[in-house]
Amino acid sequence: MTSYRLSSGGLIDRTASLNFKFDGKSFTGHPGDTLASALIANGVHLMGRSFKYHRPRGVITAGAAEPNALVELREGGRKEANTRATMIELYEGLTAQSQNRWPSLDFDIGAINSLASSMFVAGFYYKTFMWPKSFWEKIYEPIIRKAAGLGTASKEADPDKYEKAYAHCDLLVIGSGPTGLMAALTAGRSGARVILADESARLGGSLLNEREEIDGDSGIAWADGVIAELGSMPNVTLMPRTTVFGWYDGNIFGAAERVNDHVIAPSPYEPRQRYWRIIAKKAVLAAGAEERPVAFGGNDIPGVMLASAMRTYANRYAAAAGKSVVVFTNNDSGYRTARDMKAHGVHVEAIVDSRSESKADAGGVPVLRGRRIADVGGKKLAAGIELDDHTHIGCDAVAMSGGWSPIVNLACHRGGRPAWNDQILGFVPPDTGKDFIVAGAAAGRMLLSECLADGARAGTLKGKAPATPKCRDEAFAIAPLWWVKESHGKAFIDYQNDSTAKDLPLAAREGYRDIELAKRYTTTGMATDQGKLGNVNAIAILAEATGKSMEQVGTTTFRPYYTPVSFGAFAGPFHGHHFQPVRKTPLHDWADELGAVFVETGLWMRSSWFPLEGEDWLAAASREVVATRERVGICDVSTLGKIDVQGKDAGAFLDKLYCNTFSTLAVGRARYGLMLREDGIVYDDGTTSRLADDHYVMTTTTANAAKVMAQMEFAHQALFPELDVTYVTVTEQWAQMAVAGPKARATLQKIVDGLEMNDQSVPYMAALEVTVLNGVPARLFRLSFSGEHAYELAVPADYGNMVARAVMQAGDEFGIVPYGVEALSIMRIEKGHVAGGELNGTTTAADLGLGKMMSSKKDYIGRMMAQRPGLTDPNRQCVVGIRPVDPQDRIRSGSHILKDGDRPSMAADQGYVCSVAWSPMLNMWIGLALIANGRARHGEVVQVWDGLRGHKVMGEICDPVHFDKENKRLHA
């Protein structure tokens, strides 16, 4: 292998070597190299295969728009498909694999597709593969899928970390070329808070790639000086390796910082990437311009690349793209490549200029004017060219320049459409308002002096723009050339997706004449470079095919992301166990000590059951129920929402919120309340206690705590602002435990200070302030969800674990057990109390058997809409009990109800089972169901149909209260 490393120059560090592997082969490069430049320097030009035809491909660009040289970087959980070799900074130990080829890059069976390529034109999929019908999914589609796609993604978890952060500034400068540097410098010197972001590792933009002169020095030296000055300003933040990927409402920019992609693995304390939301008072887009290819036969053969890329490889990376070069251009900038390559000692055969005249300086290289390259020879490396006049010229590399496209992407992310400019033959940015300014080459300014001046203007936040440094300008002149129609070979428009110049007129012929339709029909511009290289050529060809102007055809829609962004960056740390925060109750440690199994309930972790050795959940929960009903149990109910409601109109406010009345509640008592939505459907339930005339504490269900709070805030602030009331959540202030069972009173009596507990001192639905354990303030409620004689005890949260332990100790002599939400649920189903399964956002109070709670004496939320015929229809499904006719049978939640003898059909469907439990008290499965007109059907035998799990049992509709119908235990 011959070396293509130039003997001098470049921004690489020749004193150090880096070892890396590509497709298993070892190579060396230098710090400052990219993977692409190092491969070129090692004489490797074949770097990938195309999507559809599996054509051999090398680099086209030296930057972010690279469509061809995509590799799988790294291995295992760190493997990253489709990584641009042109953007990978070389590091010691780098490994990369080529992709979309089998068995090897050099010999790829998939290239067979090329043979049939004359059939595989745009849209061929839509016209065939339809017969026989079953073949699509079984045969055609799997083959297409295997052949499609690019790299292979890892299925191992990514071991690296990611972060998110916000930044604020007076001026965000995107791009650090001459324009961006000048803008940042100007704003920075005025004291403004400035952020300068560039996706490259080294700031300087195109100054690093070109041989420029500014202020009598080299462009690079000037850039380094500016960067040093910016770096010394405390009000300026430099963000290299940071791609600003999108412009969003409020002048918020999304950016991805590649903190550690240039090392083999990040330190354990640092993220791989960091996602930024930059909130900018003002921003400048100084993203430069992208050079365009020209469509001619074989314009994809390795060795053919953009003229600016070829000189970047030479100037910046000291890598020669070939030994013998031809330049093909329609504008003056191609001449630079000829001159620069010559200056580096690379032989330049000729400049092929499509224009018949130009003033550009060819630096002694022969110029063929008015000529065009029709075809490039060679397969895996360019081997000579043929001109439109059939002249052959030998070469192993072709530099092409079809003109420059201002990088307007970000400027169009909020809906603006760029406008065609006939002078520069490019789309220039739309009006982006005063807070986002496009400057320099991105705004269509092609001269260095214009860019510097533009940058200075953009960076001037107040006052007059400063003078700009002197520089040498390279003239810019261009004449249209999009497609060399004399070509025999395929002329590519979108390299990666293999769409060719001929696909566009075909699309137009078939009716896909709009650029957006042509895009979708041919997939032009839909590859990973999003048409950065090819779209303007496509627009021009479509314009010709449809007889429209460039302006009339217009661009497709520019969308984020300027370059693709990893999922990891967007997710930051919020995945795996940290996907959402964990919320623990004040009794968590107590429950944990007792071996609780916890269950996710929203963000809460609730103790679900407390297994003894060898018990499964059912055995444990059943034992907990029996022990509670026979003796006493304690359960953590801290997750219930608790809202402190105060003020002279607190009662009146609650009367608006609930369908029943609270203003009449006696101080020291609690009442069950039912809250509706304004559409008449039940929203939430819970008990509310009156602590003083102007002070209530309401409870909500665990699930609805936050929603109810928002509803209260709306009701008060928007609907009833005249009410003098305040409310604040105190959920977390209190550890709350239910103590239930015949021995509940005896248990609590032992820890409550100075109070003899009896039905007079603590009657059913009492709500009292007490102290426990010698002075711990507490609230004692006599409430029951289990149906037992029961209490809820609330203490300030920091005491929770200790108080719960004390209750356990107090109840020890009675055989107290801790019980979890499983047992709680069994007991509430035994008692027919409705909960989540029934309060499902579609049931009315009447459906739940609570219709009587709806007051007719006052206005409240939901009152009127609840009266609509659809909500009062007697045939609505309402809550009933359901139990198997044969007590051995099991009923499952989610089963549907059919009349005895009916065959399953939607019309025959009578309702469904919403909640089930194994009742240890009744020794059978029981449930609650919503059944059409169910209250009138107690005693009816029905099918409990669970076709989904292949079960069907006969069940009996019954009263929802399965156990202790007379409520004797409550008052025992």
């Binding site: 409402d249 409020g250 805030e713 709306f714 928007a718 602002p721 009127m864 009266q867």
Partner: protein, 94 residues
Amino acid sequence: MLIPCPHCGTRPVEEFTFLGDASVKRPASNDPSSMEQWYDYVYLRNNPKGRFDEFVHHSGGCRAWLVISRDTETHEVFGCVTVRDYGKTKGGKA
């Protein structure tokens, strides 16, 4: 999108919860004859393309209900007042 909360200052959209058309008025009457007004209040919404006054809850901040005036096509935010102040000005103005 940034929203200038009168209490908290300018904050990004993720701190807010939206509830749509702020022009709706809860009827005062519970009389059956007012059903049509109730239906309108609960179900029918102004949903214009262009400038729009809407209810917004600063749920991730001060928890005030606000009314913002915003262009639904450009997402430009013109103003923001508390729902109380909105109710005080005749016809509302955000």
